[in-house]
């Protein structure tokens, strides 16, 4: 798998796919997309790196603990859901706000995005934790 072609294509893919996954994540709550597929997309490009450049080589410069990311994602998602209780609404009630930014225009801030970010981390953490551990298994 370590031909020049795959290496070059992977190098091109990494920034494109990770940016696209983030754009899917942010589009999630009212357009096609969301935390889950964004996360899967991001995990796929990292696992492509693992396959093409080799797990050991990749780990020598890029080795986050994916299980921590999983925990953090679950924490963000559940805290978002709890946040509604603090504001006196029911659990999981989402809130939305439109903010005007000078020179850019109106942007939409939704609490559903925070939940989606949590899901994004959970998916990335789970998939890559499994992928890395299975890869390390002798």
């Amino acid at each position: 798998m370590t031909t020049l072609i795959t290496k070059t294509i992977t190098k091109i893919c990494i920034p494109l796919v990770s940016l696209f996954s983030i754009s899917l994540l942010l589009a999630g709550h009212n357009n096609p997309g969301g935390g889950f597929i964004g996360g899967v997309m991001f995990a796929s490009v990292i696992s492509l790196t693992y396959v093409v450049f080799g797990l050991n080589y990749t780990k020598s410069f890029f080795n986050p603990s994916w299980d921590k990311l999983f925990g953090a994602g679950l924490l963000i998602a559940s805290l978002t859901a709890f946040g509604a209780i603090l504001y006196g609404n029911n659990f999981f009630r989402s809130s939305i706000k439109f903010v005007d930014i000078p020179l850019y225009g109106e942007i939409e801030l939704a609490s559903a995005t925070l939940f989606d970010i949590g899901v994004y981390f959970v998916v990335i953490g789970t998939l890559l934790h499994i992928f890395k551990n299975v890869g390390e298994d002798k």
């Binding site: 299980d67 921590k68 999983f70 925990g71 953090a72 994602g73 679950l74 924490l75 559940s78 805290l79 859901a81 709890f82 209780i85 006196g88 609404n89 029911n90 659990f91 999981f92 009630r93 989402s94």
Partner: protein
Amino acid sequence: MNIQEHLPILVVAIPILMSALMIMLRSRPALQKTLNIIVSASILLMSIILLLQVWNSGIQVYEVGEWGKYGIVLVADLLGSGMVVLSSGISLLALIYSLDYIEGKSLNTTYHSLFNLLVAGLNGTFLTGDIFNMFVFSEILLLSSCGLVVASENGGVTKVSDKMEATFKYLILNIIGSMVMLIAVASLYATMGTLNMADLSVKIATLSDAGTMPWHIYFIALLFIIVFGNKAAIFPLHYWLPDVHPTAPSPISAMLSGVMIKVGAYGILRVYFLVFKDALFLLQPIIILLALITIAIGSIAAVGQKDVKRLLAYSSVSQIGYVFLGIGMGTAYALAASLVYLVNHAIAKSMLFLTSGGIIHHAGTRDMHQMGGMAKSAPLMSSMFLIGAMSIAGLPPLGGFIAKFVLFDAAMLGEYYLPVLIGFAFAVFTIFYMFRAWLLMFWGEARDSKKYGPYPSHGLSPMITVPIIILAAAVLILGVYSEPLIALSSEIANQLLDPQPYINAVLGGSVR
């Protein structure tokens, strides 16, 4: 909004939050332990407050995300909140027990977060008012319990390969069960266009009154017998249980046998008596028949076992048959009796599994033929096992006697003479196998120390003995002073047979 109105979601969501926190706190084992015990205790407290609230002011409905009946609705009625109290009580004690019983490495890495997910899954299944959500929570339950079954205990009595084999069976069979549940839920949705159980109940009742009930509703109802029968280990789907419950570490066996198989009984009660109440006449004979075969198979198989935990697992199969017998008879008294039976069995069986953990710890083996004469070296375990065995066998001052008494009384009043006869015959079997086990382990000569070595007794810490003693006290109290439980169960049975208050609470009396 008052914080008390949030209780139904808090008992589900706090364990999920904790399970995330426990992953982050992996490097701080002491903090994990204290935090987890505090959280479990507070969930028990919250569930008791919830039950009292429901008892005093009627069914509580909580709309998650404020979407009304189109979103996820949590409904705390007496059955649901009562089951939550039962499961949080047992899980608190099992958690305290496991802190000393489970091996350090597996305790610190995955045990705490999976245990919290298990609690969340249990509470969610008991409280949800949405049938698809019930499927989701039972998946959470299944997957987290798979992870817990492979957790290794101190001393390593059970081989890892055995655990893997048992978990594989458990996972595959229960995933097939979940598939069946998904098919059933999907066909229900395709037919009725809703997933809310109260809404389903109203729509099916309307169709049934008009005489236009689609024929496949009956088949969907039959599919749910497979789903919940598989969860509760009812014959012909009982065979995974005697492999899984013995190989799990003892506190998890206590959770599995004490609470998780009751999810099946709960599901039957909730789905059949709320949604499919017009198809019940067709289902009740089937449930009674399957329950009787389950009773017979479980007790006959338990007689021949030499592994103490396997014996207890077969005994669970047989005892859940009695619970289903009561459900199948379906009168208010019989339902109350089966709920009394369910609670008594949950407490006594989880206590017996915890005790068996202590016995295994003491003897270093699970084989009863390699034990003997332990009454002298382990007096506490011996008396606790005797209390549990007497309760399961149904001997007087203990909870099991009351449970069997009301169940048989209800069956006699309902003129189910043959089921009573069969149930009674196998109750005698129960006495035989429980006391055979007790005699093999605790009476007679101590085992041949040349052949098997002396007991590697190193005493039991209070973390292990105190939960057992608390459960034993509960068994005794339920036997001597059982009126509150019977009153609660009768009230639950009345609520089950008349689902109108439930429907009114969820749908608010108006179409939205």
